[in-house]
């Protein structure tokens, strides 16, 4: 094997310029793929982090049918205290769950006593909400970021609403809502802070204390619209989602059907489509890399066989077994792939390191100066590396096969 590799490496060095050009193509391909995976991956993680850590949480538990009619924020699909207790028990039992936050959600009218507009109100337990969505306080553009997000009698409103209604921190406003029985109730709040949206100034979500929400809706018991769940390890999302679904399967309604539904952030956010698009683009870039390596290596190997026909005839005539002739050319493809992979990998890792040192910033919606910190998993690097090497060997297979099947007499006569 060593002999085959030694001869293969010398044959590659024989046509230095051509080998270098082929290597360059492989290296550029690898660089493009690994950098894209690292940058797009970090962008995706950052955005997913923004969405899960400041709004949605990693998972949400609702009563069956709630998500289908979530635009109406139906109060008749809230979870009763007994049901909430069972959900909390199931969450407590799961070691992957870090914390959770119960929310009461409803639609209401927001008034500054002169004008009125609609608002989606989230009644939250400030401490538990901050633990479940730790980036939420950071979205406060006006008002004290420190301390509880909202206290009793306070409201945090979205930037869009504050601008439109010309209200600011410290102003008194009134929120009017219709409860489940159809009676209209109102409650005054003092504006505690103003929040920017995750993806821009849009969004009509305000936050009040959960007890104020229940009071406004005149709930007789501690109902909950949704429970947002935060996991210890985001990478275990799918598995934990399944486990929680399984744990809650036993809770059925009067018809004997599951009474609850569990959704991951991806089921609830349109950004999941963008994330899927990034994954799709990554796949296309990988396909491009495979094509580049395939064409580049196949081209160089076809040339190598064509230029060495007499040499192939000679080694075949003196008794070199066809399998060894095959391995000689496969080894050239393998070494091209390996050299390109190692160089491409080192350059890509250096580039990723360089970007992390440089720390370029970018804006995403209202999020200013987000630092791009590309990272790439060792698994991704190894997968791409293995892909390039395997494709390089596959690309040399046809020329190598042709060389091994060559008739020595015709090959020796070749001019």
């Amino acid at each position: 094997m060593f002999d085959v590799l030694a001869i293969a490496s010398r044959n590659l060095l024989r046509y230095r310029r051509r080998t270098l050009l082929t290597l360059l193509l492989i290296v550029i391909g690898m660089l493009a793929v690994l950098l894209f995976i690292a940058v797009a991956g970090s962008f995706k993680s950052m955005m997913v982090g923004q969405i899960t850590d400041s709004v949605l949480g990693h998972l949400q538990v609702h009563r069956k049918g709630y998500v289908a009619s979530i635009d109406n924020l139906p109060l008749n699909l809230n979870m009763k205290p007994q049901m909430v207790a069972k959900v909390e028990e199931a969450l407590k039992q799961n070691p992957a769950v870090e914390t959770w936050s119960p929310r009461v959600k409803f639609g209401g009218m927001f008034s500054n006593f002169a004008e009125t507009t609609s608002i989606r109100v989230n009644g939250i337990d400030p401490a538990r909400e901050a633990a479940t969505t730790p980036l939420l306080p950071g979205r406060m553009v006006d008002g004290e970021k420190a301390g509880a997000l909202v206290g009793r009698g306070q409201i945090v409103i979205p930037l869009l609403l504050a601008r439109g209604m010309k209200t600011g921190v410290g102003d008194t406003v009134v929120v009017v809502a219709t409860n489940r029985d159809g009676s209209v109730n109102g409650k005054t709040f003092v504006i505690r802070g103003i929040l920017e949206g995750v993806t821009g100034p849009g969004g009509r979500d305000g936050y009040v204390h959960i007890d104020d929400a229940r009071e406004l809706l005149r709930m007789t018991e501690a109902e909950v619209s949704e429970i947002a769940v935060r996991l210890k390890d985001f990478s275990r999302l799918e598995r934990t989602n399944g486990q929680i679904k399984q744990a809650l399967e036993g809770l059925t309604n009067k018809e004997g059907k599951p009474a609850l539904e569990v959704h991951s952030w991806a089921d609830l956010s349109p950004f999941a489509n963008l994330a899927r698009m990034i994954d799709l683009m990554t796949l296309f870039i990988k396909i491009m890399l495979v094509s580049i390596v395939l064409v580049a290596v196949m081209n160089v190997m076809i040339m190598a066989v064509f230029e060495r026909i007499r040499e192939i005839g000679t080694i075949a005539a003196i008794g070199t077994p066809p399998s060894r002739i095959l391995s000689l050319f496969l080894a050239e493809g393998l070494m091209l792939g390996l050299a390109g992979t190692v160089t491409g990998m080192l350059l890509s890792l250096a580039a990723i390191f360089g970007i992390n040192v440089w720390k370029p910033t970018f804006n995403f919606g209202q999020q200013q100066n987000l630092v791009m910190a590309p990272t790439i998993a060792a698994g991704d690097v190894l997968t791409i590396a293995a892909l390039v090497v395997v494709v390089a060997v596959i690309a040399s297979l046809q020329p190598a096969w042709k060389a091994s099947r060559m008739d020595p007499i015709s090959a020796l006569r070749h001019v």
Binding site: R310, A316, G319, P321
Partner: protein
């Protein structure tokens, strides 16, 4: 019984729809340790005959036995193995491998052709190559590449390569055609010396009347037929 025996041997090539006979029912026998030349003008069938003896081609009809093996029974893989173990080749254009040094070119058959690695361990292999290089007077050029030596030196290396695996038969197709007269004679002298030293049978082809006189046995081919009746001396 000869080392090589041919009986009513024919070889016909098909070119388009036409059958072109290259060898027409020849009979001959070549004794072990002999120094034999196939001579004749271009197109007389010399190279075809050497290709058949070298198991590079199959006869159309008749029998050709090399070392008691009917070469018609050898498939591609078996033929390669048979050549590697029993036959050495010397080519008109030397055909050394350009990326290997002189030493490595001579060593090549022992490393890449012989599948039985134990037969030629590194030390034994090195000793064998050095002995051959010494025999052909190329020891001091061992580290040079083929493009750094002359045509005569290349053919010396080719002779050493042909003999390194101790074959019983060496076939040389026009081995002196690309050499000047003096060098050609020196190569023939070298081949004879190798025959004397190692007992190897040398069979070569030539169309040069001066060179053919160096052979101990000469078979004259004309239009695919042996003119001297195929006898051997």
């Amino acid at each position: 019984m000869g080392l090589v025996t041919a009986s009513n041997l024919t070889k016909t090539y098909r070119v388009g729809d036409i059958d072109v006979p290259a060898i027409k029912g020849v009979n001959f026998a070549i004794a072990a340790s002999s120094f034999v030349a196939f001579v004749g003008p271009s197109g007389s069938g010399k190279s075809t005959l050497l290709n058949l003896i070298g198991c590079l081609d199959h006869p159309t009809s008749g029998t050709l036995k090399v070392l008691d093996t009917d070469i018609a029974t050898l498939d591609r893989r078996a033929a390669a193995r048979f050549r590697g173990e029993n036959i050495g080749f010397i080519f008109q254009d030397f055909n050394l491998i350009p990326v290997l040094t002189v030493f490595e070119n001579v060593e090549y058959p022992l490393r890449m052709v012989q599948l039985d690695g134990n037969k030629w361990p590194a030390e034994k292999r090195r000793a064998r190559v050095l002995r051959l290089l010494d025999a052909v007077g190329m020891t001091d050029q061992a580290d040079k590449r083929p493009d750094q030596i002359s045509g005569g030196q290349k053919q010396r290396v080719a002779v050493a390569r042909a003999l390194v695996s101790q074959p019983k038969l060496v076939l040389a197709d026009e081995p002196t055609a690309n050499l000047d007269h003096d060098t050609a004679y020196r190569i023939l002298e070298l081949m004879k010396k190798m025959r004397d030293d190692f007992g190897t049978t040398f069979v070569f082809s030539t169309h040069d009347p001066k060179i053919m006189g160096e052979a101990e046995t000469t078979f004259t081919l004309e239009d695919g037929r042996l003119q001297n009746g195929g006898s051997h001396v």
